[in-house]
């Protein structure tokens, strides 16, 4: 099967993730969508790695996972603290600062 | 190398400014005296420059040159020609009078914090402006000039916005808002002009590769530096715009009335008699030398604008109800004459214009300062609030009359010489414009005499009936100026001798010759 299809898939996932970021209110969900985008990237890396026949892409995928994990740590910390002080995880409620 | 006289002339007031600002809050009088002494010392230095300058010598004298910012092709290059010398002398001469006239203008009304020192600030700022103006007269490096041309806006801005007339018809709150409006207007106008010039300066660098006036002018002359016509025109416009804002030329003039109206009389004098001269001076030195062709290309338009300034300014002066605004519009009209003389491209025109800068400086100083004394007595700037002052304060009225006559350039007083030279110089090349320009002298008589009549003559208004006559300090300010007006009106030769050679070489830069008369009546 032509690896290019995986690229299409990753692009699709990425777009889905991006759309999710744009339309979902709940910070957690938004964050999940971002994770989805990252994983779309991973898929792309691996696919390209396969196409070019070198390992770089696969190695990068591991790096990405680590980074994603770190992001989760930081992100959840922030989001949770926000949730605790506002009792809501909606990104739209967090709009004290504007204009 | 010899003693850097020019640097000293510029640095002394700068140091004086810092020193004055450093005087402790309690010692206000000390600050005043310090400032006065420094300004007088500067005057002494300026006189030394005047003496050391040899009219028949090289074009730029007392030159200094040091590397400064290599990457920008900027050098610290100073040098003076006749025109610069005359204007430096004027500046150094006027500052002491300005300081003396503004002796009490900055005494604090309310005490802010202990560290709030308006008086020190006022005089320090004045000295700072003097330093920057002088160095921009001396700079022969475009970039160096530009820097101070721009930088002097800041102290001026604080002078305009920070210090106003004591009494104000609408109360202090309104006054301060109007003041800051005027200050912002002043700063924005000039800043925009300056930034547009900055673009042109950068362009000049891209074209020429350095900023040395002499090098570029020589390169232009011997053709080693060729500019595309369009480039030259754009650059010229960039430079001219900034100078036209500063000068100010119609229709870029509207900042001046506000600025002069809101600031105290001495500061108003500083604006119109000293700072604005940098603009006209720069037209003469930079526009014509760097972009001769473009200057000639733009001449017709500029002359028309100058003409409009003359008539328009005079007519608006007639229509004013506020003494200071009237003086401001009169100045606009006068600047029209100066610019007309510069771009007439004749030796009479340009010598006249240079002379005009000096004379206008002195006459406006006298007129405006007297107006300031008048205003400080009655606490109103409205012409309608005065009348019959001549009866109660004859000396004030008499000196004011002389200032008035100088403004309408009565023969025998200095401004007449320059105004006539400008008109003749213009007439020889553009008769029509010259003729229309002469209408200016009628209008000048109109606004000047109207002001005098409404304030000084007629029945004595009760509010002015107790008005004291000129005090000793005020007389000390005014008398020398008036003497100077008369002297330069009767014997302007010393100035013209210094100026003529410089004008000659400027004209040779633009490859212009005076038109020949129809009949050779005088044997050459």
């Amino acid at each position: 099967m032509n690896p290019v299809n995986y690229l299409y898939l990753s692009a699709l996932l990425f777009t889905i993730g991006a759309t999710g970021v744009l339309i979902r209110r709940n910070a957690i969900v938004v964050f999940m969508c971002i994770e989805l985008m990252l994983n779309a990237c991973n898929l792309a890396f691996v696919t390209f790695s396969r196409m070019h026949g070198n390992l770089d892409g696969q190695v990068i995928a591991f790096f990405t996972m680590v980074v994603a994990a770190a992001e989760v740590v930081v992100g959840l910390a922030i989001i949770v603290s926000l949730f605790r002080s506002r009792h809501s995880a909606s990104v739209d409620d967090a709009s004290l600062m504007k204009l | 190398m010899s003693f850097p006289l020019l640097t000293a002339t510029a640095v002394l007031p700068a140091i004086g400014a810092i020193a004055t600002a450093a005087v402790p809050a309690a010692r206000r009088t000390a600050a005043k005296w310090l400032a006065l002494t420094v300004s007088l010392a500067t005057l002494a230095l300026a006189v030394t420059v005047l003496v050391r300058f040899d009219p028949d010598g090289g074009r730029y004298q007392l030159t200094e040159s040091h590397a400064w910012i290599k990457d920008f092709g900027v050098r610290y290059e100073l040098g003076v020609d006749g025109i610069a010398v005359a204007l430096i002398a004027l500046t150094a001469l006027l500052i002491p009078f300005i300081i003396l006239a503004g002796w009490h203008d900055a005494d604090p009304l309310e005490t802010g914090s202990r560290r709030w020192r308006p008086t020190q600030g006022f005089f320090a700022l004045i000295l700072g402006v003097e330093a920057m103006v002088i160095i921009s007269f001396e700079a022969t490096d475009v970039f160096l000039f530009y820097i101070f041309f721009e930088a002097m806006l800041i102290p001026m801005y604080f002078l305009i916005g920070g210090f106003g007339d004591r009494a104000h018809e609408h109360g202090e709150e309104a006054a301060s808002t109007q003041r800051s409006y005027a200050a912002v207007k002043f700063l924005l106008y000039n800043l925009v002009g300056g930034l547009i010039m900055l673009a042109a300066v950068i362009g000049l660098y891209v074209v020429a590769g350095n900023f040395s006036l002499q090098e570029i002018a020589q390169a232009r002359a011997n053709g080693s530096l060729h500019m595309a016509t369009s480039t030259e025109r754009w650059l010229f416009l960039g430079f001219f715009f900034a100078f036209a804002v500063k000068a100010p030329l119609w229709p870029l003039h509207t900042w001046l009335p506000n600025a002069m109206q809101e600031s105290t009389a001495p500061v108003a004098v500083l604006i119109t008699a000293v700072v604005d001269k940098v603009g006209t001076f720069a037209m003469l030195r930079f526009c014509l030398q760097l972009f001769p062709e473009a200057s000639k290309w733009a001449t017709p338009v500029i002359l028309v604008l100058a003409l409009i300034s003359i008539v328009y300014g005079a007519l608006l002066a007639v229509g004013q109800r506020d003494i200071k605004r009237l003086v401001a519009y009169a100045s606009i009209s006068h600047f029209g004459f100066i610019i007309m003389g510069i771009f007439a491209m004749t030796s009479q025109g340009q010598s006249g214009a240079t002379l005009y800068m000096v004379n206008h400086g002195i006459s406006t100083a006298a007129w405006m300062l007297l107006a300031g004394f008048l205003i400080s007595r009655r606490g109103s700037r409205l012409i309608a609030d005065y009348g019959g002052v001549q009866k109660v304060a004859p000396v004030l009225a008499g000196t004011f009359l002389i200032g008035t006559l100088a403004t309408l350039s009565l023969p025998g007083l200095a401004p007449f010489v320059s105004e006539f030279l400008v008109l003749v110089g213009t007439f020889t090349r553009y008769p029509a414009i010259g003729v229309i320009g002469t209408f200016g002298i009628v209008l000048a008589a109109l606004y000047a005499l109207v002001l005098y009549q409404r304030t000084m003559t007629g029945p004595v208004k009760p509010e002015v009936s107790a008005m004291p006559d000129l005090r000793a300090r005020e007389l000390v300010v005014v008398a020398p100026l008036i003497v100077l007006l008369i002297f330069l009106g009767v014997y302007p030769k010393p100035v013209t001798d210094i100026v003529n050679p410089a004008v000659k070489s400027t004209l040779s830069d633009v490859h212009k010759k005076d038109p020949k008369p129809e009949v050779e009546a005088v044997a050459k």
């Binding site: - | 002469t438 003559t457 007629g458 038109p515």
Partner: protein, 648 residues
């Protein structure tokens, strides 16, 4: 001997400086300093005159170079004096009459606390006037020209507390400025034509210049002359100028300054000779003015205004003569001198009358004064006879010559001008007789009536000291005032004759102005006869109107022409409507434009940027997701753009 010339100017100038800067401590002696200085100047003049007489005609030109004034390349203005027959004549007239009027003023201004200043101004005037006639180039002449303007401004407005005076002064200065504009343009034209404006080279090369240029120069000079000499259309200021103290009217607005225009034209004779069209303009102006002035003179009830009208008309004669070219130059000057005597005399007389009548100026409130102030009556009467051209008095000779010259111009032109001059003579006779009769004859209309309604402002502050609202007690003026009047009366009687004895005056001036006898269609005798006839007619009508029946003490409504004439033939109304009103509207609208348009554009730009800012600011709505949208959109655009770049 040349070095004396500078002293002529220096003496009064010094006087002025001392008096104006001296301060109150000089109040006691100030007036005498003034008199001394002017007399000193007169003495120098006499010495120089003697010296000139000692020389033969062609060496009667003295040049004194003082210093180089404005040197800019080819533009070389020097401070140089030139004393030749023409300027000598003027110098004598100015210093002579000037000194007399200084003396007169000592008495006339006795009660004015600002007398010192008055004499300072008078001296200033003398200096400027002398500078005017002594200058050797037009630019220096211009200095004197504006200098006298300034002096007249100061003196007309001497009683500054009166708004009318201040306004009149300003008006005089402004109208003169219009004339000065002409002079400055003329100078510029000379500079472009000849490369100089010094008398010598200009006159010697005038022939080489194109007629067009000469005409332009000449017309500009004429404009200047109109301004200074109150000729139509710039005559409007002279009437108001009578707001000034009477000595001022006598010296400046009768004898000397107003004749400067004539001096200018005669001085520039060479240029005018080269520009026939300009000469035509000159004669037209002269003729029109002499009738205009005369008509105005007939209608005025204010004695000074009446005299002012007559001055206007007499100067009209002079200008007319000057316009005739070499035929007339000499006689223009001659009439100028004689007029200087008798008109000054008349004004001083008028002043003396006012002095005695609590500063009343309305002739309808005079009458029968001859027995109260005999000296004034006699001197005034002699002046009167002189001005109407009574045989063998000064006016007779000078005016007669001018009328002859007018006819001598030849052709229809000659006839027209001659007729105008004759009519003028008749009218002159009429209005002067009218003045004479209303003032010194008839019943005493000032009896048991305060001369002034209390609300009307006093003409002179001095009047307050003299009990203003009381019934006047006409009395003769003190010696210090009468002596000058007597001297001037002598002048007005004999000067003309003196000049005409074997044409001494003609020979004196000829070298400067040149002279030519025109070919007159009518004999000199005929002209004289005609003049006499006109004279008789004029006097007759006047006597019929004002001698026979009593004069109403309030002016009758009068005919349309009379009413127009009272208002200077509506000249002021025209000025007011066209210039003043129009000017006001113009300035007001310009102020508006400056505020809304010029300033508005800038403020508008600023405002619109601010508005834009306000609108763009709303995009920052605080919602993280909308920020993400903008990022996403931006990314999309960038990607698309990059691809597009490659595509195209």
């Amino acid at each position: 001997m040349e070095n004396l010339i500078a002293l002529l100017v220096a003496a009064p100038l010094l006087g002025a400086a001392v008096l104006l800067c001296g301060g109150r401590r000089l109040d006691a002696v100030g007036h005498w300093i003034g008199v001394l200085m002017s007399t000193l100047s007169f003495v120098f003049a006499v010495i120089l005159f003697a010296d000139l007489l000692g020389k033969n005609a062609e060496h009667r030109t003295l040049i004194q170079h003082l210093w180089t004034w404005i040197p800019v390349e080819s533009f070389q203005a020097d401070v140089t004096f030139r004393l030749d027959q023409l300027s000598m004549t003027f110098v004598l007239l100015i210093t002579g009459v000037g000194s007399l009027i200084h003396l007169y003023s000592v008495g006339y201004m006795e009660h004015d606390e600002r007398r010192r200043r008055f004499f300072g101004y008078l001296n200033l005037f003398l200096a400027a006037m002398l500078l005017l006639v002594l200058a050797d180039n037009y630019l220096l002449l211009y200095v004197g020209w504006e200098g006298v303007g300034l002096a007249s401004y100061l003196l007309i407005g001497f009683w500054q507390h009166k708004p009318s005076a201040a306004t009149a002064a300003k008006k005089a200065f402004l109208v003169n400025r219009v004339g000065d504009m002409g002079l400055s343009i003329a100078i510029m034209l000379m500079f472009t034509t000849f490369g100089t404006f010094a008398f010598g080279p200009v006159f010697s090369h005038a022939g080489d210049a194109s007629e067009g240029k000469l005409t332009a120069i000449a017309l500009m000079l004429l404009l200047a002359a109109c301004g200074k000499s109150a000729q139509v259309p710039l005559q409007s200021w002279l009437g108001d100028a009578m707001e000034g103290p009477t000595p001022v009217s006598a010296l400046i607005h009768a004898a000397t300054m107003v004749t400067a225009g004539v001096y200018l034209i005669v001085r520039s004779a060479v240029i005018f000779n080269g520009a026939p069209d300009a000469q035509t303009a000159v004669v037209v102006v002269g003729a029109v003015t002499l009738l205009f002035g005369a008509i105005v003179g007939c209608a005025k009830d204010d004695i000074k205004k009446a005299l002012a009208g007559s001055t206007m008309s007499q100067i009209g004669y002079m200008v007319l003569a000057a316009g005739l070219g070499p035929i007339g130059y000499v006689f223009a000057i001659m009439h100028l001198v004689t007029h200087g005597f008798f008109k000054a005399g008349l004004f001083l007389g008028a002043g003396s009358v006012m002095h005695g009548m609590n500063d009343e100026v309305d002739m309808r409130k005079y009458g029968g004064l001859r027995k109260y102030m005999p000296i004034t009556f006699i001197t005034f009467g002699l002046g009167y006879l002189a001005i109407i051209g009574f045989p063998f008095l000064s006016g007779f000779f000078s005016k007669d010559k001018i009328i002859e010259a007018a006819f001598a111009k030849g052709g229809t032109e000659g006839w027209i001008l001659g007729t105008c001059a004759l009519v003028g003579a008749a009218v002159t006779a009429f209005y002067m007789t009218r003045v004479m009769l209303m003032t010194f004859f008839g019943e005493e209309r000032w009896k048991n009536r305060p001369t002034r309604s209390p609300e009307a402002p006093s003409a002179e502050p001095a009047a307050e000291h003299r009990g203003e609202h009381a019934e006047p007690h006409p009395h003769e003026s003190p010696k210090v005032m009468t002596i000058p009047m007597i001297v001037l009366a002598f002048g007005s009687v004999f000067a003309g004759g003196l000049f005409s004895i074997n044409n001494s005056f003609l020979h004196w001036l000829e070298p400067v102005t040149g002279h030519s006898e025109g070919d007159s269609p009518v004999s000199a005798g005929a002209v004289t006869g005609a003049t006499m006839v006109c004279l008789v007619i004029g006097v007759g009508i006047a006597y019929a109107m004002y001698g026979r029946r009593p004069v109403p003490s309030v002016a009758p409504r009068g005919s349309l022409l009379t009413r127009a004439a009272r208002r200077d033939l509506l000249q002021d109304d025209f000025n007011h409507v066209v210039l003043v009103r129009g000017g006001e509207h113009l300035t007001r609208s310009l102020v508006y434009v400056d505020h809304t348009l010029v300033d508005g554009v800038v403020n508008g730009t600023a405002a619109s940027v601010g508005g834009l800012s306000g609108r763009m600011r709303r995009l920052q709505n605080g919602f993280a997701r909308s920020y993400a949208v903008s990022m996403f959109g931006g990314a999309a655009i960038i990607v698309a753009a990059t691809l597009l770049m490659r595509a195209v």
